[in-house]
Symmetry: C2
Subunit: 306 residues, 2 copies
């Protein structure tokens, strides 16, 4: 059966990241218009229960709950497992309102600016991210090879990208963050529209920040955090680390330094929600990749050959 | 009975304001030394249950739970009412470890810098605040005449001051905020030490930001927030508002302006925790007050005539 292209737009996958939720609410109330270039979209709040509670999640992180086994578990007693299943049933590729592409709008307390996150090296994701990067200049964080962190929402759609915007405290509306969310949403829809109409220009290259590993805060013998991000590192996301650069400070004056020979580029420095995941920051390598022909084709096929 | 002066130091009255908690933890572990000028202090975490949960509070705001009736209710089913009662029983003026002065360390998502908050016009509070202001230059926010907001912790001690430091997201350690907390703690203890030794210089004047009223976010007919702090107002705490200055924006382009003739000075602009209290910001008037003789005497008596 030939299906029209449909795009799933998600805000509030984390209930206390409220700027996207606000934008979607105003959009639904027709208080503003957002150009989706004639493409059918579904706008959903990822975790409405957590939103009501003013929390990131109720039982567990929804954006780690899209595991292959869990998407079958609509009756799970874990609210987020049940919600993940429900979202896939409603909007998954084989769901009631099948969507081929998912865009998931997040915020962060880290000074990430606006960026795109892709999970693994799926061809269509990389192609779409390259188009958005080419238009808006946003960095792309390629999250891969991290067995501790899996089950991201967008992985349950054939093509899906996370948008992260920061810094912004949880639970706080901010004019800049709302505007940036709207800008990226519209630019993404414009690109998808151009793919649909085969009227697009792919860049030759894309810049990738490839995930290498995450590091924890300094901890004492009892496992309690006893150091904090060094003032020279705070808010320095995307800025290259050299050997002996400062990473953490302790109140006794001790400084913990970056000791590796290879330069890394830190991201998600001091994201409040990652403290519970034992992540103080993540290290990436910045790489210039050629855009492969098969990536473009994968995206074009997904959008057009329905 | 003659009692030695004892000072209660509180962090984590709100469980997700963690920088003071971190400082106290490191202090207790002797990882750093804080000069209390030989004065006996008790360092307590205000709401340890909320801290464990990573939340502001469990049942209700602890810093609105020190009501006269509730401090008798140690067995209340409301955790914070019971905790308020416990703290007064343990450290109140007539408690097991009687303290005469309480310093309560908070953080805010608003761009308040460091400031002092006093509740009502208690003589000893104003005298102590004037000494700290004279040393560190911090603004003093006088919270009064606000019947919706009562039951603050420090009001249950004969003299008590709140320290607010921002901007910082909830749940996030920050080097600058930790350092500022330590600085203000030590400066306050130095001043108390000087009062005790009658070796102090009071300024003639103090600058007060007197609370006038708080205003809510714009809301639609259903009561949902439909506007946000205008970009020209965000982070502009302590900066004077003139008639027709921008206050809020809506996504339909509407701008809500300040319409009063008298200039006000806004504080706590976009504090995340105040959204539930229907407070987008508070208005104050900046006033230069003479420091009254009886204020000084009240503080000197409290510290010395035990």
């Amino acid at each position: 059966m030939m299906m029209p292209l449909q795009v799933l737009l998600v805000a509030g996958t984390h209930g206390n990241e409220i700027n996207g939720i606000f934008l979607f609410d105003q959009w639904k109330k027709s208080s503003l218009s957002i150009n989706t270039y004639g493409i059918k979209t579904y706008k959903v709040i990822g975790n409405p229960e957590a939103q009501k509670a003013g929390k990131r999640y109720i039982h567990q992180d929804l954006n780690r709950s899209f595991q292959e086994e869990s998407v079958l578990s609509i009756n799970s007693s874990i609210l987020e497992v049940s919600r993940a299943s429900q979202l896939v049933n409603l909007y998954g590729e084989a769901g009631e309102n099948p969507c081929q592409i998912a865009l998931d709008f997040h915020t962060t307390t880290a000074s990430m600016g606006s960026c795109l996150v892709v999970y693994g090296r799926r061809h269509a994701d990389l192609a779409l991210a390259s188009l958005i990067q080419n238009q808006l200049g946003l960095p792309i964080y390629l999250h891969e090879s991290d067995q501790k962190q899996t089950g991201f929402l967008v992985e349950s759609w054939p093509c899906g990208i996370v948008v992260e915007i920061g810094p912004i405290a949880q639970g706080l509306l901010n004019s800049r963050v709302i505007s940036q969310t709207k800008l990226i949403l519209e630019a993404s829809m414009e690109k998808i529209h151009q793919i649909k109409n085969l009227n697009l220009f792919f860049p030759d290259k894309l810049i990738i920040h490839r995930h290498i590993k995450s590091i924890d805060f300094p901890r004492d013998e009892e496992g309690n955090i006893d150091g904090y991000v060094h003032p020279l590192r705070q808010s320095k996301d995307w800025q290259k680390l050299k050997k002996n650069d400062e990473l953490f400070s302790k109140l006794n004056g001790e400084i913990i330094r970056f000791k590796e020979d290879e330069p890394y580029i830190p991201v998600f420095i001091n994201e409040a929600a990652y403290v519970e995941k034992n992540i103080a920051m993540s290290f990436t390598k910045r790489e210039l990749w050629d855009l492969k022909k098969e990536w473009k084709q994968s995206l074009i096929d997904l959008v057009n050959q329905r």
